[in-house]
Amino acid sequence: MRFIFKTDYDQDIRLAKHGGHVFWYSLLGLFLAVAPWALPEYWLAQLTFVLIYAIVGLGLMLLAGFTGLFSLGHAAFLGVGAYTEAVLTNAGWPFPISIACAGLLSAAVGMVVGLPALRVKGIYLGMATLAFGFIVEEGMARWEHVTGGNAGLPVNPPGIGGWTIDSTEGFYFLCLVLCVGATLAIVNLLRAPTGRAFVAIRDSEISAQSMGIHLARYKTMSFALSAALAGIGGALYAHKIQFLSPDQFSIIQSIDLLLMVVIGGLGSIHGAFLGAIFLIVMPQLIALAKDFLPEAIGQSTGLQGTVYGAVLIAFVLFEPMGLYGRWLKIRTWFQLFPFYRKGMFKRQKSFQKSDRLK
């Protein structure tokens, strides 16, 4: 077990709490930096997707995990970002400007969607965002001369001036930089008053208000930040996928995004990343695995959906706290190693309480 003697308030504020953190995160950084040379191209592309989804996941985690507002229409923000980026890039705008626009436009849309969030919670908010998601999807299909409608819109590679990033490696680094930046920003926010205000709103609106937190402002802010990250993620997604069509941003995508943060573990930054890894790697693993299965099962229709659903069920059943929750237990197990007692993490009976009154 690790004991840390604190001598300074800064120790609590610091990001890396102890040497272990420094060591492991450096190792991770090193791996990410050499990944293009260490990984086959296919897996590098998957890693890029993970980074992109992690950015989106960070945003959704901020909203759902830390502010307690569940959005069932997050794909719409992803879509707004993606289309903005696609249109601007195809018009020849330099990447830094276009992605900023993608983020900002998404944030603006997020603020608008945040408006009903000021009055409704829980399931009603879910439905409001769901409805909004449908409307945006329809809008993307209808606004043909900009979005190309259902015929879709090809996306050029990002570039500044005459220089374009069209290699898998180059784009990977671009995503890496943005992802690290986004992570740091969110982590910073969470150790500052704004982040705490979000958590306060999540746990008790009434007492957050009596602590002087302007509910409307912070909820809107949470929506805006979350949408901005989704927009940035969407912009990168657009480049990675190179072809946009409205049905990529449907309710299914929204549900996937929500699954990502829940499976990762609500209320933790790590969760966003673990969830992104799950979301990308899981279908790939199923696809890989089926090559080894007997033909009759491996190639049957519906297999992918069944396995995906089953894994999802298994995850929620065995680890409702998500991947990060599982990781915490494993870590504690190692830390306590010789003293670990059976049943220490036995799930206690727990009891659901109505969140209609919050």
């Binding site: 008053p193 958590v199 746990d203 009434i206 002087g212 802010m221 209320g267």
Partner: protein, 276 residues
């Protein structure tokens, strides 16, 4: 309004459907005193608190508060502005941020003193860091004051009832209020802890100079710390005065205190069924 009056309620009424929860109640809270509301269950005490912290809007009547910026009509303000004026409160049923540590709860209490902007927080600039450390220092003072060192890093969800009460008080103190509203601070505490609470409340008044408005059922505590007491019943004012005066008011005894000493009537040892 007098210079030494901090909060003044005039003819407050609020009605919920058929229930007249508060009925034309008026009172003044003077600077630096402990003012206590007592009354039978359902008398409307908590509702008065909720009116002050703007959770409810009165059907009629007004509340004025002597803020730093002069006299303000509280009933015109949105709820989140109330804390900024220096009014903090605790809740009867404890409303803490359950999935955060005690420390984080207290830091949220510092919210009204936030001076950093979104961008500086996203980048965690030196300014934000300094502000964070300053907030921590203030919070540590409160932790020291209420002996909470032991629970600093505990999740609120796992704390015993009594400790939560103290944490809630601590969180209110972290806002550095001028007026502190305490809703049944001693409920769920045993005698010893109630005594601690009494000391803390007098310290809050004397050392920190904070005016306290309190709802309480424990008459020992009330007598010990309050300067003035207002007894309510069925939403209306019943009696006002010093603790002793109010406690001897026949209406208060009738409605609230009950006739003295029926405790011993409960004594059961002569039942003698218990093995020695």
């Amino acid at each position: 309004m007098n210079d030494d009056i901090l909060l003044s309620a005039r003819e407050l009424s609020v009605r919920f459907g058929g229930v007249l929860a508060v009925n034309k109640v008026s009172f003044d809270v003077k600077k630096g005193e402990v003012f206590t509301l007592i009354g039978p269950n359902g008398a409307g005490k908590t509702t008065v608190f909720n009116l002050i912290s703007r959770i409810y809007t009165p059907t009629s009547g007004e509340i004025h508060f002597a803020s730093h910026h002069g006299l303000l009509k509280l009933t015109d303000l949105p709820p989140h502005k109330v804390a900024g004026l220096g009014i903090a409160r605790t809740f009867q049923n404890i409303e803490l941020f359950e999935h955060a540590t005690v420390l984080q709860n207290l830091l949220i209490g510092r919210h009204t003193h936030r001076r950093t902007g979104l961008w500086s927080e996203l980048l965690f600039t030196g300014r934000t860091r300094a502000a964070e450390i300053a907030a921590r220092e203030k919070v540590e003072q409160v932790i020291d004051f209420l002996d909470l060192q032991h629970h600093r890093e505990s999740m609120v969800a796992g704390l015993p009832y009594g400790v939560r009460k103290v944490v809630e008080l601590a969180r209110a103190l972290c806002t550095e209020p001028r007026l502190l509203l305490l809703d049944e601070p001693s409920s769920g505490l045993n005698v010893e802890e109630t005594e601690d609470m009494a000391f803390w409340i007098s310290d809050i008044k004397n050392e920190l100079g904070i005016t306290v408005l309190m709802v309480e059922h424990d008459m020992t505590l009330v007598s010990k710390v309050s300067d003035r007491v207002l007894a309510m019943s069925m939403g209306a004012e019943l009696a006002t005065g010093t603790p002793a005066e109010v406690q001897s008011h026949p209406g208060v005894i009738e409605a609230y205190l009950g006739t003295v000493d029926d405790v011993s009537s409960l004594r059961r040892e002569n039942h003698g069924r218990v093995a020695a």
